[in-house]
């Protein structure tokens, strides 16, 4: 009886579709307003988008495959140093930004697989501890490999990025680059989630042993998640290095890894829109609390603790993602197929 569609659902289709279009329009207007903001505000928006991109990448591993990775910042560092070393006076190599983007992503993926092969036999807390260690190893390595990375002083004078002959110099230029990167990676990850591979990840998250029992090569599926997620981390790193035009190991501390995990947890695990919301909350809160510098971390911690107690599933539920928006646009509620 429940499966029968309600007759009233048909006229509601238009309202639903209008609601979907309204959401898209609101998003477009918000995006269109960004260039008119002040330089400081645009920097904050850029920061939100960088963390969104990182969140989208890490969400693949944490949210979809259910593996807690506390060393994600290492892949971010690999990407950032790719650009820093391949487009700076450090070695006199000056590769174009658009070429380093895939190189950084590829190197990130390689490191992801390199880390994945030994650690993927571990689960839960053990995996978290080992990945945490890996993140620190990369940071310490960058700090000490003076000949390669210039150690704690970092790499300075990184080339100004150019895209199709246009120099990226103002924060608003990077806003567009980051927006495109987020849209592309978000779509990619969303499509992956709904593919058979995405279902295999979900099965592994539910019951790894039963997943093996139905013939899923769990190691390979998890490696794929690690590699893609690390590639997105590398990509974000390249953009970050081009934006800052300076990288040092300080930018890739354990705090960053934890911040990215928090973005996912606060926003809603396994939900791309949730990541955006989480990034907004976690980047804006410290900025808004800047005036209360002394109590900033205290207030931030309190907000976190409250959120986690009151909404352990995150601000956005798992099913309130792009799928919901798409079905709104088609004029029907999700799950009524």
């Amino acid at each position: 009886m429940q499966t029968q569609a309600l007759p009233a659902a048909a006229p509601a289709a238009r309202t639903l579709r209008l609601r979907g279009i309204a959401i898209l329009l609101a998003a477009a207007v918000l995006i269109g307003l960004v260039p008119y903001l002040g330089s400081y505000a645009i920097r904050v928006v850029d920061s939100v988008l960088i963390y969104t991109l990182l969140g989208i990448g890490l969400n693949l591993v944490v949210g979809y495959a259910g593996l807690l990775d506390l060393g994600f910042v290492a892949f971010y560092a690999v990407g950032a140093y790719s650009y820093a070393l391949l487009a700076s006076p450090q070695f006199g190599i000056h590769l174009p930004f658009l070429l380093v983007l895939p190189i950084g992503a590829g190197l990130g993926a390689c490191f992801g697989i390199l880390l994945g092969i030994p650690v993927l036999r571990l689960r839960g807390d053990y995996l978290a501890v080992v990945t945490l260690g890996f993140g620190e190893i990369i940071r310490v390595l960058l700090n000490n490999a003076d000949a390669l990375t210039n150690g704690p002083q970092g790499v300075i004078g990184i080339d100004r990025a150019r895209v199709f002959g246009i120099a990226l110099s103002r924060p608003v230029d990077f806003f567009w680059v980051l927006l495109v990167a987020c849209l592309v990676c978000g779509t990619l990850v969303y499509r992956l989630e709904r593919s058979l591979l995405g279902q295999a990840w979900a099965a592994i998250r539910e019951d790894q042993d039963a997943a093996r029992g139905v013939g899923i090569n769990t190691t390979r599926a998890k490696l794929a998640a690690f590699a893609i997620s690390a590639a997105i981390g590398g990509l974000a790193g390249v953009i970050f290095a081009a934006f800052q035009r300076y990288v040092s190991p300080d930018s890739f501390s354990l705090n960053e890894s934890i911040l990215i995990v928090l973005i996912i947890v606060i926003g809603g695990v396994g939900n791309i829109f949730g990541v955006l919301l989480g990034a907004v909350v976690l980047v804006l809160l410290p900025e808004l609390l800047r005036e209360f510098a002394a109590y900033r971390m205290l207030v931030l911690g309190l907000v976190m603790a409250t959120l986690i107690v009151l909404r352990p599933q995150g601000l956005l539920p798992r099913n309130l993602g792009p799928g919901e928006l798409l079905s709104l646009l088609r004029g029907r509620r999700r799950g009524s197929r």
Binding site: A202, D209, A210, V214
Partner: protein, 276 residues
Amino acid sequence: MSFELQNVTKRFGAVAAITDVSIRFEPGQIHAIIGPNGAGKSTLVNMAGGSYAVTAGRILLDGRELQGLKKHEISLAGVARTYQNIRLFDRMSVMENLEVCLYPQRTTCILADVLGLGEAGRREQRLAHCRRLLDRFDLVPFAGVEARNLSYGRQRMLEIARAMVRTPRVLMLDEPAAGLNDAETRDLKQRLRHLRRPDLIVIVIEHDMDLVMSISDHVTVMHRGQVLFAGTPAQVQENPDVREAYLGTEDELDAIRSLAQRRKAERRLRQQAGAV
């Protein structure tokens, strides 16, 4: 086609769970493995399914040695199973529970997944295949429901359906009737009979003697990690060793019968109470 255990032994430390067991399973038949608790039935399934490593002996499917293969490789070789305590992908829909089993057959690369190249047709094929299976187990109306929200009996059916998705050659059912009520058990009996196919070996581990005797072609009785007796259901029922080891002496048998009747009455009362 043949599926065979040859001198299989499993030890957990100093405890021997299975000692030198050899069983040959014939295609087109339903094989039951029975025995008291702790006889080693589930251990046998867990070894054949790759959950436990074999201590000694060989497991052969068409002459190919399966022992030492990884669990997913054994599954891909054509050995499917269900679990004593149901293990579905709880937060996935009924349809997804089946569809995900087709992941290993996927020929496309990740890039094709992302771009959705040629997916539409293949997805339809996959869904049609899964829907046929759901239909066989009367689960089509529940295709979009999360597996954990199904009733217990339907979860059992879904688990069997899931094991059938990749058309296995060996299907091992670990206590499929456990926790089912009388009506559901009768229903299960019918469905198991319909599972019989000339190219499929069905192995059932079960405590419900009525079910075992009515559906199986061949029964292996295990006792303390060894094969006590093997034969047709009629032979097993008449064998005095089996009666003593498994069913107990005549007096014990009476006691068990009356206990079973009392349980049944209690269950009926509970069901009535639940229905009100």
